[in-house]
């Protein structure tokens, strides 16, 4: 991963452009509205499936094609890899905790940022909650790993 000093000058602009397109998509797909997500979870409108799998179809093609046409990413020199994370029970436990939050609020992190963009200031409640949650989890995890047990947790 490039550090901030030796980065390509187009690295940050490209991330901004990618974020703009990503956020526009979350707005256009109405995922920035918790009500629409809750309607999906209550089986009243199944459109959300098209958002998630439509997005995954695009990334799937790009993740498949890029390693075959280029050795390294032009702006970082990093190899093209798929997003593969190790499986352990935390994936299911964390997924279930996330599911409780998503089902209760109808909002997930990316959609919450986008929700601010469409003028939904009320979503600051959810964003505050997400930071509190990440803070609690990080505090707890730091204590667990800084303490007596030096073995890596493989959490990322």
């Amino acid at each position: 991963m490039a550090t901030s000093t030796d980065r390509h000058p187009l690295f940050i602009p490209l991330v901004l452009v990618g974020g703009l397109i990503f956020g526009f998509g979350l707005g256009y797909s109405h995922m920035a509205r918790p009500e629409v997500v809750l309607n999906f979870l209550q089986f009243e409108d199944f459109g959300l499936l098209f958002v998630m799998f439509g997005g995954a179809a695009v990334t799937g093609i790009v993740f498949f094609v890029m390693p075959r046409v280029l050795d390294r990413a032009p702006l970082t020199g990093d190899p093209f890899e798929r997003r593969l994370k190790s499986f352990d029970r935390n994936v299911l436990i964390g997924g279930a905790i996330f599911g409780v939050g998503w089902g209760l609020s109808g909002i997930c992190p990316g959609a919450a940022y986008a929700s601010l963009g469409i003028g939904n200031v009320t979503i600051l409640w959810a964003l505050a909650g997400m930071f509190i949650g990440a803070c609690l989890q990080g505090w707890w995890r730091s204590r667990a790993t800084d303490g007596v047990d030096p073995s890596p947790t493989g959490a990322d």
């Binding site: 990618g18 256009y28 797909s29 958002v51 905790i97 209760l104 997930c108």
Partner: protein
């Protein structure tokens, strides 16, 4: 009056708002992630921003591991906010605000913050990039949060909380 053929009726029931807004929006979400991947090799997720941004104010080792990526993650999030604002300016008449109760947003947000970090990803990391990678870990994660979210939302609705 001639009734719609059964497939059309079914489609109208499952997708009362049609599918084009969802499919087109989803393609843009995937395209945004793809643009970053093609240039940098990074498969970006939205939820790591929470921890990487906390590294600005906390010295916990859990957050400090993200110091190298915290600036571009901040830019990515700003991009998401601005991109949604572009949508709002073009297609939406003024600001839109939710009617979901504040305590649902706050409490749900806390669970989202804990769960995405314990579970190594959210709807963009696992859902869009992980599923696009055909990652079994991400498919398991998506299945876990989808099923629990459906259950939670149905229980909350059955308890009469609206919205």
């Amino acid at each position: 009056m001639v009734a719609d053929p059964v497939p059309l009726q079914l489609a109208a029931e499952l997708f009362p708002n049609g599918i084009s807004r969802y499919a087109i929006g989803g393609l843009f979400v995937g395209l945004g992630a793809a643009v970053i991947y093609v240039g940098t090799g990074i498969s970006a997720g939205a939820s790591t921003f929470l921890e990487s941004t906390l590294s600005y104010v906390s010295s916990q080792s859990r957050f400090q591991q993200y110091v190298a990526s915290r600036d571009w993650r901040l830019v990515f999030t700003l991009g998401i906010i601005l991109g949604a604002a572009v949508y709002a300016v073009v297609y939406q008449n003024g600001a839109w605000t939710t009617d979901v109760a504040w305590w649902r947003l706050l409490l749900g947000g806390i669970f989202v913050g804990i769960g995405t970090r314990v579970g190594k990803g959210c709807t963009s990391g696992h859902g869009v990039c992980g599923v696009g990678s055909a990652s079994k870990t991400s498919l398991a994660g998506v299945l876990a949060f989808l099923l629990v979210a459906i259950l939670t939302a149905q229980v909350v609705a059955a308890l009469g909380v609206t919205p």
